[in-house]
């Protein structure tokens, strides 16, 4: 897992949060974890295949998740229902897609799977056996923790 894979995600998050939410994003201290697992209540998992393989986990605190969707919808949100979860999945999907475009600028061609959303902080994601780098993405409505676990498919 190379640290340079992180930058495209940071850039994509800045871009998407500015356009969709009118929010600034600061990057917190990176940390390495042995297993991919949820940090906060609202979680989106996206698989990556192609030149890089692995998983992405977007973990949002509940209050942040509700506020994000409230900003987009222009009306308050009170629970992590199908509407809120689907919207979060789409935001994570758009960020990941844009990050893949940035990565293709470095000659890495990857595809992403549809977002899977789950609520709760229990457990780990069994498919990930590799280490993950966690990037805290700090905004004034809360911190999104993005875990990136990617390895090169051909040993590059």
């Amino acid at each position: 897992m190379k640290a340079e894979y992180i930058n495209p995600f940071y850039k994509a998050t800045i871009d998407v949060f500015r356009i969709m939410l009118n929010l600034d994003v600061q990057r917190g201290q990176l940390r390495v974890v042995e297993e991919l697992g949820p940090v906060s209540e609202a979680n989106v998992v996206i698989g990556v295949t192609g030149d890089l393989r692995g998983s992405l986990l977007y973990s949002f605190p509940k209050s942040m998740a509700l506020e994000m969707v409230a900003i987009m919808a222009g009306m308050p949100m009170t629970k992590l229902d199908a509407f809120v979860c689907s919207a979060l999945g789409e935001v994570a999907n758009i960020i990941s897609g844009n990050a893949m475009t940035h990565l293709s600028g470095t000659d890495l061609a990857c595809q992403i799977s549809p977002p899977q959303v789950f609520v709760g902080t229990e457990g780990t994601l069994s498919m990930a056996t590799e280490q993950a780098i966690v990037v805290p993405l700090i905004t004034n409505i809360g911190t999104l923790e993005l875990s990136v676990s990617l390895t090169s498919a051909n040993g590059r």
Partner: protein
């Protein structure tokens, strides 16, 4: 949901975008309302019906504008429109077949919302930039 900074400088397109955001907002209100699903279903159905036709009109007019001003990325833009129009059509067919399931409609409303914000906020803004760059030449 509509923001003043979404304006691209074409009166027709800007008013269509306002209409789209307004409709999506009422769609979300209906989908997320407190009343029983049966009570909200009328509004959900009629908004979906309206949107299905209105995106066709809007995409057609926006693509015509791009052609008129010689917008260089119109093919890529049209492909994005086509993909979204197809998604709406598929969803409309699906609910016709399977009925209006509340959760499925909620998920769909969220997709439409995020798509519209990202598309108007990013892709359509490029048309506005192009119009401004070409300013005076039309």
């Amino acid at each position: 949901m509509w923001k003043e900074h979404y304006r691209i400088g074409s009166e027709l397109i800007d008013s269509q975008h306002q209409e789209l955001f307004g409709r999506v907002a009422s769609f979300i209100r209906a989908v997320q309302g407190e009343e029983s699903w049966e009570e909200r279903l009328d509004e959900v159905q009629s908004t979906l019906e309206f949107m299905k036709d209105y995106v066709v009109i809007h995409f057609r007019d926006e693509e015509a504008l791009q052609k008129e001003i010689g917008y260089p990325w119109l093919e890529k833009h049209a492909a994005i429109h086509n993909a979204f129009r197809e998604e709406i059509r598929e969803f409309a067919q699906r609910v016709e077949r399977e009925g209006f399931d509340e959760e499925k409609v909620q998920e769909f409303a969220a997709k439409v919302m995020t798509w519209l914000i990202m598309h108007v906020g990013k892709e359509d803004q490029r048309i506005g930039e192009y119009i401004r760059e070409q300013g005076g030449q039309q």
